[in-house]
């Protein structure tokens, strides 16, 4: 039998139900793997005692014949999720010491289904970043390397710890969140599967807010079937989040029929970016061929406002962030700066936020403040929201024409070296999101599936974009792509 920590959720579920293994054994295997993987800096808060308690409880449930699919499955949880009594600090200094008195809806649904929490995972501070380099915990490191070159690579971001942990088999799967690509880009950089559901599919309650009209939680898993199983447990309406949709959650795993005959797959011509590496272009074509071979029809489509998605996003997301992050004032939780004699409340706010927020978060809060300030609101914020409406309309029109799913590259490059972008313009880093950010602006479901290796031996992913609420159809397309691509590579263990 393979190492227990390298099992998929589906394999673990089946083995647990047959009594071939126990959740305690699975959990111990993961905890051992985590202990020897400090070099990846993926797990930043370890919760072995909680994990073992949950594992024993899961084993009792399985024995009693009451075992939902996630029962006994050891997971890593992104630090953005509030977990009761366990540090939850969004990788920020400003939330140092914060231990929520409550549990996020997504994690409580997972734990109610019997899942086991191994610990909290590294990420970019407040999910703002594409390389996990803005974290107060330091960089998470990609388990993949360029051939024999030992340069440390980024696992992507913001869910970099989640991606590294799943790729390195430190857990069976992990939660992620995606505001502009934060599940899909790291999944592509680490050769795993990452699904951003339709906006409103998963409750945002108890997840530290970055940009409330864009944020969605989703699963980061070893394959497409696992994404279906885990989404099932995470999704559903929640009275505590008024934007969570009152729409029934279908059986996602049952949708994986492998039959996409007659389906129409759109290839948006605007995603053929200037300067895109030939390998990515080739992979995209191969992906289209695979879907065609499976009986789908490939259609050239146009999404004319694609070019404006990034600038619109970098107005809207910082604007929302600047209001969401106003709550970090040193009064109710987290860090408060030590004050000089005579300092008043404004100095307390200003010093606390200067000490508590890292440079990227400060930058975005200030940009957001600026675009919302009197005199600029219309020129920037309102204009960006109008452009957003046009971006969504582009997608609506394509789906109205009968397109079932859209195929694009997931990222404009493979994983890059940690520190390689340090001297670059902040805008250069933002370009990482070029293929993913449109999906958040339009509120659509999107999934990154590993599809091949580049010439340096690093994983490359493709993205499929689905119709609103059609995660089931999207997962089935992804499943076909996964079967055809046959991606089975794993990073060689060096840590």
């Amino acid at each position: 039998m393979t190492d227990l920590n390298s099992l998929t959720i589906a394999e673990a579920r089946d083995a647990l139900r047959k009594g071939e293994t126990t959740s305690v054994a699975l959990t111990e295997a993961c905890l051992t793997a985590i202990e020897s993987a400090g070099a990846l800096n993926a797990f930043v808060h370890h919760t072995p005692d909680i994990a073992m308690d949950q594992a024993r409880a899961a084993d009792a449930r399985i024995k009693a014949g009451d075992a939902p699919a996630m029962c006994g499955v050891p997971l890593g949880i992104k630090d953005l999720f509030c977990t009761r009594g366990v540090p939850s600090q969004a990788a920020s200094r400003i939330l140092q010491g914060f231990r929520p008195e409550y549990e996020s809806t997504v994690t409580s649904q997972l734990f109610d289904a019997g899942a086991v929490m191994l610990g909290k995972l590294n990420m970019d501070e407040f999910a703002m970043g594409s390389s996990n380099e803005t974290s107060v915990y330091g960089n998470a490191v990609n388990p993949w390397r360029r051939g024999n070159d030992d340069t440390a690579l980024t696992p992507g971001g913001s869910s970099g710890g989640s991606a590294a942990a799943v790729a390195a088999d430190l857990c069976l799967a992990a939660t992620g969140t995606d505001t502009g690509g934060s599940i899909r880009q790291p999944a592509a950089f680490t050769g795993i599967t990452g699904l951003k559901p339709t906006y409103g599919r998963c409750s945002r309650w108890g997840i530290v807010a970055f940009a409330s009209s864009l944020d969605q939680a989703g699963p980061m898993t070893k394959d497409v079937r696992d994404a279906a199983i885990m989404l099932q447990a995470m999704a559903g309406p929640d009275a505590k989040d008024s934007t969570s949709a009152d729409i029934p959650v279908p059986d996602f795993e049952a949708a994986l029929t492998g039959d996409i005959r007659g389906k129409k797959i759109g290839l948006p011509r605007e995603y053929r970016m200037e300067g895109m590496p030939a390998e990515i272009e080739a992979l995209w074509q191969q992906g289209a061929e695979m879907l065609k071979d499976a009986g789908a029809e490939i259609v050239d489509i146009t999404l004319p406002h694609t070019k404006y998605a990034l600038p619109a996003y970098y107005v809207i997301a910082p604007a929302e962030a600047s209001s969401n992050l106003a709550r970090y004032d040193g009064v109710r939780y987290g860090h408060r700066a030590s004050l000089d004699k005579g300092d008043g409340i404004v100095e307390m706010y200003e010093k606390t936020r200067a000490e508590g927020f890292g440079p990227e978060v400060q930058r975005r809060v200030m940009i957001g403040t600026y675009v919302l300030s009197a005199g600029f609101y219309d020129a920037y914020y309102n204009r960006a929201r109008k452009v957003r409406a046009l971006i969504k309309r582009d997608f609506d029109q394509v789906f109205d024409q009968g397109i079932d799913a859209i195929l694009t590259p997931a990222t404009p490059s493979a994983a890059f070296g940690l520190g390689e972008m340090a001297d670059a313009d902040p805008v250069a880093m933002y370009l990482n999101d070029v293929f993913t950010v449109t999906v958040n602006l339009a509120g659509l479901p999107g999934i990154a599936v590993p599809a091949g290796l580049d010439k340096q031996g690093l994983p490359l992913g493709l993205q499929l974009i689905g119709k609103p609420w059609d995660e089931a159809g999207l997962l089935n397309h992804a499943y076909v792509l996964e079967q055809a691509a046959g991606f089975v590579s794993k990073p060689a263990k060096w840590w």
């Binding site: 107005v315 408060r336 307390m348 809060v365 509120g443």
Partner: protein, 95 residues
């Protein structure tokens, strides 16, 4: 649109983030660079387009205007950097 040092100082204050005087020129330059990137939005014809307010076309849910939770002062205050006698404590506010 370029941001001068005075604007950078004003934005930092509005955002309640202390920025040292020496750091303002670099901040102004950085913010200007990002805003230049956003200038592209000016190319788009948005005449007659309504700003997007809701991601999915749904009516915002409503609930009865009743108290559903509460009575947990200890838990509310538990994470406060400074809590005294059942209150959040802050420096003296004199205006």
């Amino acid at each position: 649109m370029s941001i001068d040092i005075d604007t950078a100082r004003r934005v930092a204050h509005l955002a309640r983030i202390a920025v040292k005087e020496d750091d303002l020129p670099a901040l102004a330059q950085e913010l200007s660079g990002i805003l230049t990137f956003m200038e592209q939005l000016g190319e788009v014809d948005v005449d007659g387009v309504e700003p997007m307010t809701s991601v999915t076309p749904m009516r915002l849910k409503r609930r009865d205007d009743v108290v559903t939770d509460g009575g947990m002062q200890d838990r509310i205050l538990k994470n406060a950097p400074d809590a005294r006698e059942g209150f959040f404590a802050v420096p003296k506010v004199v205006e």
